[in-house]
Amino acid sequence: MIDRQDVMRMARLARLELSEEEIELYQRDLNSFLVSGRKLQQVDVSKVEGTSHAVAVIGELRPDVVGESLPQEAVLGAGPQVFNGFFKVPRIVEGQE
């Protein structure tokens, strides 16, 4: 069972501010998913490797050639807060003792 604490922890990890109502809603949804998902855990997978790519493609590598970058105005154009050619963000909390 997923409790309220789990939901809060997931929300913190995923940086989602949730309302009280949403916390309850997602707690319920996550639990009902886990009930349905339990079926998956009964499948015998002892003989297989996981699939992380839909098809086994051979990756082509890119030659080390410098291409065009965007003009600074285009880079910053959609930025909610910009300053002097930079994106601006509020205080990064990571205090030290």
Partner: protein, 476 residues
Amino acid sequence: MKYDIVIGLEIHVALLTESKFLCSCATAFGAPPNTQCCPVCLGLPGALPLVNEQAVEYAVRAGLALNCEINHFSRFDRKNYFYPDLPKAYQITQDVFPICTNGYLEYYIDDVLRRTTITRLHLEEEAGKLVHSSGSIVDSEYSLVDYNRAGIPLIEIVTAPDITSPRQARLFLEQLRLLMLYMGVSDTKMEEGSLRCDANISLKPAGSTVLGTKVEIKNLNSFRALERALEYEAARQSRVLEQGGEIKQESRTWDERSGRTLSMRSKGDAPDYRIFPEPDLPPLRLEPDWVFRIRETLPERPLERLHRLEESYGLSRYESTFLVNYADFCQVFLELAEEGEDNTDLANLLMGDYARLAREQGHLEPQRLAGLLQILQEGLITHNQGKAVLEELFKSPLSAREIVKEKGWEVLKDPAQLKGVVQQVLTANSELVERYRGGEEKLWGFFVGQVMRTVQGKADPQMVNELLKGELTQKS
């Protein structure tokens, strides 16, 4: 109680590619902010990464240089965490299947060759750069983000915890830096962040096999910082243990100003990076032939060169170490030196005045330096004049021989001519000659000086000495 120190290092090396790891933006340092960015390295919706072949090659080269196994199959993973300098909110890295594993690096501690195990080496992308409004992350009201650096290729090199002293850690890192430089994979400029090091350190009772709780130290931006931080931390942990305390597993940061490590308070949850295979990039498969070709063309490693200088060029450990540490000097040396001969003179020239001038003004063409060596060996000029010629070589386009000629610095080689000068000096100072003969031997230097001044230094000191001796003793 006595404690053994256990240290493991994690080193990030920025690779010297022209373009970024996963897009084609330039990697040049120092461009105006956010001018080397594109949809990929900005993490714009829908943009997809593409691996730079050169970054892979550099990683393999570094891995081979570190005697690693090169894995023909490796895979990229996503490491998820939020931070303003991380455009996609995940870093593309290699977690489960790194490109290189299980190697080692050898280096000297005093005269003893030591070996440190390299657990793994993997490719990953760099984050952007943060500028904090007050200069420090702690009390800044806001921060500014520049994504020019975001997406530059890095290799992360992880050692086994088999380093046993802060000094050893520094020597290891110095050798590693040199190796990366020799391999041509990085400019290794610590001041620009091209080489960064985190250290894990723990203490255990001397001789015990049970490891203690480790502490991670971040922000070690110089060799000195690495050694000092480890020394401080070893002492701190020892003090805590002596007092019956417990070491907390944590990350600490090195504070250069106070010379202390400070705990980086982690608020709340332990990090959970939710690492999973990167679906946008197929696994990396390396052709054995391709790896073989890189192995075949691997540049000489610094340790190999050290041994070669000692064995084939007759240099001491001291001289060889100097030349290996300064690869540019070494290149000059190797162009001019003769294999199988004693090249001590050349080494000393390079290490002395030449080093001082070259560091200020850049290197001379080795052939111009060779010209100087040549006329010194011929005895065309004195050693002292050699210094003056060297200075001129840095200023003038002329060859050493031409400089000597132009300045009229050839040594007076005719003993008769020099003898005349000596006699002239003694005659002019007959009173002093008497005093010398009377036992005032310290006047010898005065006579030498007078002779040299008269010939403007262009005499072989040994010949001057001999002639003076002859003249002064003759008439006694």
